[in-house]
């Protein structure tokens, strides 16, 4: 009920202090950039129960599951918007589950988040929305901000929308602007919360192509939360290939050859499945079969 205000005020229940650990230094390239260890969280009912997983640099994790299975909660925990009741969450070596709001800022600078409906600021123009983080940083000149914002809007194909208000945009355009806003500060990790929900198939493909583009061209590590199987498999089997000097999306038909994408299925806060797209597709588990059908 009072989740937002208590989180803003730093009053969310916190587990016991974490054991002392060495300060985050230069990371081992093989060390996971995101690590969940036996994470539990409950509100009125259990939301997550013993969730553990790792995310290696440059890879993509697709989190699947029905409504209320705890998918979005995982993203909120990574961002430090929620604190776990038990367990540990490390993002690039930082224990975000035990950090106060003020200390989370440098961690959040490494993360880019695309919210479900875009979460654009209604009172700001598209350009101001995209450049928001750079303005808040305070050490980038106005000219550089404008140039970077225009570059990002060009990347998502909305270069002419700079001065428009969010209310003038369609659902798909809002997501693309949210994409540009998340990418503007060149994050190391991108989090996507149901980026294609409520969009038509063509617009959904535009969004999944953007996810692939960011992954393949910039080497960004990503977590995609979705219940749209079609989009999940699109992200897994599509890659950017150079053709006539241009990068174009290509599709791999044979799922067994795919690398770099792991699927994780949640069911009522519990990890039901972890594996490759091929393993998911060929699983004999009745729940997974039902979900895939």
């Amino acid at each position: 009920m009072r989740e937002t205000i208590r989180a803003i005020l730093g009053l969310t229940p916190r587990p016991a202090p974490a054991p002392p650990e060495p300060p985050p230094g230069p990371q081992d390239p093989d060390e996971p950039v995101i690590s969940f260890r036996d994470v539990h969280l409950s509100f009125d009912r259990p939301i997550l129960q013993g969730v553990s997983f790792d995310l290696a640099p440059g890879t993509t994790k697709v989190i699947l599951g029905g409504s209320g299975s705890g998918k979005t909660t995982i993203l909120r925990l990574i961002l430090g918007l929620l604190k776990p009741d038990a367990g540990s969450i490390h993002v690039d070596g930082a224990d975000v589950g035990h950090m106060v709001e003020e200390d989370l800022r440098p961690v959040r600078l490494k993360l880019g988040m695309v919210f479900q409906e875009g979460a654009l600021f209604d009172s700001l123009t598209v350009g101001e929305n995209v450049g928001y983080r750079l303005v808040e940083d305070g050490n980038v000149s106005e000219a550089d901000i404008e140039a970077r914002v225009r570059e990002m809007l060009g990347f998502v194909g909305l270069e002419t929308f700079y001065g428009r208000m969010p209310s003038e945009l369609s659902g798909g355009q809002r997501r693309r602007v949210a994409f540009a806003r998340a990418l503007v500060a060149r994050p190391q990790i991108m989090l996507y919360d149901e980026p294609t929900t409520g969009l038509d198939p063509i617009t959904s493909t535009t969004i999944t192509d953007l996810i692939v583009k960011v992954r393949d061209l910039d080497g960004v590590t990503s977590i995609l939360v979705t219940h749209q199987l079609r989009d999940a498999f699109n992200v897994a089997r599509t890659f950017m290939a150079r053709e006539n000097g241009q990068f174009l999306p290509k599709v791999v038909e044979d799922l067994s050859t795919l690398e770099g994408t792991e699927f994780m299925m949640l069911r009522q806060g519990v990890v039901e499945f972890k594996g490759t797209p091929h393993e998911l597709k060929t699983s004999e588990d009745p729940y997974l079969r039902e979900f895939l059908s």
Binding site: R2, R6, I8, L11, L79, R108, A119, D122
Partner: protein, 270 residues
């Protein structure tokens, strides 16, 4: 049978204690939010642009309703007081009565209530919409502190603009009373304004300035608290808006009593 009664009593007791605990927690959150908002006003980084925007929204855009309310209140006050004062042959004291009533009570209270209805509800609706559309989460993810960015400018703007609006309301109300006194009650312009001047003492001004400061803080902090406390989609936004107006209005009226009582002790009327 006895055990069922015991269970019922236990269940009621548990529910009551949860309600009490919830209320205490709500008051704690509200106080903490207000204190953090006020602290953010005087410590960097400050959002000057947001402060000016809020001053425009709370002050300039509320001017018309405050002027109208003040004018008609002053006019009604002159008419009503004349009817009562005539019984004692004290019609010449209309100016004094209108002035004291407007400066001490009606100006601050009515201005605060009008601004609560117009702006306090707007704050709750705006912040509530930001909560349900995840804009508050987005702010935090993008490195902003919502208390500094959203709450502090609203508190600051209300603390500056509500006292200013109250002064305008008082002035317009006393002027409205003068119009009735001259054209309806057949008092002279000079006599009315001299009566107003004689009535005003420093205690009135202290009361007239202190109250709107407190009321401004109440209406803005309640609006922000209710807005940030929104849950349950668009229906929740509507609920927060209604609650913010009700809670702020009742708090303003009840705190008015205690402020008056305190100020009368500190600055007794001679």
């Amino acid at each position: 049978m006895a055990s069922r009664t015991q269970l019922l009593i236990l269940s009621l007791g548990r529910r009551f204690s949860q309600q009490v605990k919830g209320s205490v927690l709500a008051v704690q959150d509200y106080v903490l939010l207000t204190v953090r908002g006020l602290a953010a006003l005087v410590t960097p980084p400050r959002y000057q642009r947001e402060l000016v925007t809020q001053m425009d929204s709370i002050g300039v855009q509320s001017l018309s309703i405050v002027v109208l309310t003040g004018m008609f209140t002053g006019m009604v006050l002159a008419l009503q007081s004349a009817a009562s004062l005539d019984a004692f042959g004290a019609r010449p004291y209309v100016g004094r009565l209108v002035c004291i009533s407007m400066v001490r009570e009606l100006g601050p209270v009515l201005t605060a209530l009008m601004v609560t209805g117009r702006v306090g509800s707007g704050m709750a609706a705006e912040l509530g919409s930001m909560v349900v559309t995840q804009q508050i989460d987005a702010l935090r993810v993008l490195g902003s502190d919502p208390v500094r960015k959203l709450v502090a400018p609203r508190l600051g703007a209300a603390l500056i603009m509500v006292p200013l609006l109250t002064v305008i309301s008082d002035t317009v109300g006393i002027f409205g009373g003068s119009l009735i006194s001259i054209f309806n009650l057949k008092l002279s312009w000079e006599f009315y304004w001299r009566s107003v001047g004689n009535a005003m003492v420093i205690n009135d001004l202290v009361m007239g300035f202190l109250k709107p400061l407190v009321f401004g803080l109440i209406l803005s902090s309640v609006g922000c608290y209710m807005g940030l406390n929104t849950s349950g989609g668009t229906q929740g936004v509507g609920l927060s808006t209604t609650r913010s107006v009700v809670v702020a209005s009742v708090t303003i009226l009840s705190s008015d009593f205690f402020i008056t009582k305190l100020l009368l002790i500190l600055f007794p009327v001679v």
